[in-house]
Amino acid sequence: MGVVTPGFQGRARSGNPRLPPGQYLEEGFPVLSAGPTPRVRTETWEFTVTTESGEKHTWNWAELMALPSEKPTVDIHCVTQWSKLDTRWRGVPVDTLVGGLGTEADYVMVHSYGGYTTNLPLADLLDGQAWIAYEYGGKPLTPEHGGPARLLVPHLYFWKSAKWVRGLELKIRDEPGFWENVGYHDYGDPWREQRYQGD
């Protein structure tokens, strides 16, 4: 059980089965990012998928908007211990953008405006598990929450859901992204509490 801190009670036990270990419920929507918020205009926005052979597929904003979208309602889990339930998004499934490509890559490096990167397995972006999201709560996604578009991968800790996303680089080998380079986990499963390397 670990070390008991004498007198510590804690708040009422929620027992909520939707809360992963070590998480608490958050009603607001805190922001976590490493630097200034990039202001990305939809007029110049582009999203590029690069395969392991260097083949590039690019969409501009109008092209993204023209693709069929979905409206997932999902629970999100931040590594800083808050979780938020039933968040409502709209976006294009990553399957739509990556599905038709011939690739043998097993990994993805996600790139963002502002220079942020994060790595994860390609399989975690497919089969309806991830979206390029551009609406939150029925409104356009604001810059501080990653607008105009962010990756949404709700089954992993939320730093994997890169804000201000501008592309996916398909890779044969896994390499650490921005937070992963300073000690955060390469995979980041909240249900296994994979917060840091070695968890």
Binding site: V4, G7, G10, S33, P36, G198
Partner: protein
């Protein structure tokens, strides 16, 4: 960036309270003994885990407020109303009581004494904590890197580390911005940090300063936007934010 900031598995270590200092009526610096502590960089944080008698656990992240001295580690905790962890740590938590700590975490929002660039620190409220660790690390390393601190707080009573910050240090310029209530005798009106504040109290953009901004989300958004507008390289602006209910 080399993967050196955190190596191997981050183990939970038992930490015992060795002493404390009250910074304000609602903020307390906790000094822990953490046997085997591997050391840390100024700006890094730790996770603190508390376990109740029935096995219930709660953990939160807190910034380290000073360089390590051997196995001695310091945090400053702001009490948050209804915060299950912060209310315990700033209240009944007593000298000798154990908690578990793991870290250090985060090699991005960190200042290294070997970095010769001038430094601008901008603190909002309890966001001063990791920035104070940088000021203390500068002194501990005996370097003369020029520092400027802009510290925004609501009232004079909320000032952390008051005695230490009031003692002048060559090469560390401190500017206070009060948003609700000024100290007695200080002319002017309360205000928020604005372009003029950072233009006057910060470094010219061409100096290539390392900027560290820490505070509530809205504060950090505003300050980082101003620094970008003043011409600072966005990649040299490092931010750490805390959300509405993070305790």
């Amino acid at each position: 960036m080399a993967r050196t900031a955190v190596s191997g598995r981050l183990a939970w270590r038992v930490a015992r309270l060795a002493g404390f200092r009250d910074e304000t009526p609602t903020a307390r610096t906790l000094v822990f003994d953490v046997p085997g502590w591997p050391g840390h960089l100024a700006g890094q944080h730790v996770d603190v885990r508390l376990t109740a008698a029935d096995g219930y656990r709660a953990q939160r992240s807190y910034s380290l407020s000073a360089p390590a001295e051997g196995d001695r580690v310091e945090l400053t905790v702001q009490r948050v109303a209804g915060g299950e962890v912060s209310e315990h740590l700033t209240g009944p938590y007593a000298v000798g009581d154990p908690v578990e700590i793991r870290g250090p975490i985060g090699g991005w929002f960190a200042w290294r004494p070997t970095d010769p660039a001038p430094v601008l620190l901008v603190a909002g409220g309890s966001g001063i904590v990791p920035l104070m660790a940088m000021i203390r690390a500068r002194r501990a390393a005996g370097v003369r890197t020029p520092f400027k601190l802009v510290y925004s707080l609501r009232t004079p009573a909320e000032l952390y580390y008051a005695d230490e910050l009031r003692a002048p240090v060559a090469g560390v310029d401190v500017t206070y911005v009060y948003t609700r209530e000024l100290p007695e005798g200080r002319p002017g009106l309360p205000k928020r940090i604005d372009v003029a504040t950072l233009n006057t109290a910060g470094w010219p953009a061409e100096f290539g300063a390392s900027c560290f901004v820490c505070g509530p989300t809205g504060f950090v958004e505003t300050v980082a936007d101003i620094l970008v507008a003043l011409g600072h390289d966005p990649h040299r602006i490092r931010t750490e934010r805390f959300g509405p209910s993070r305790d």
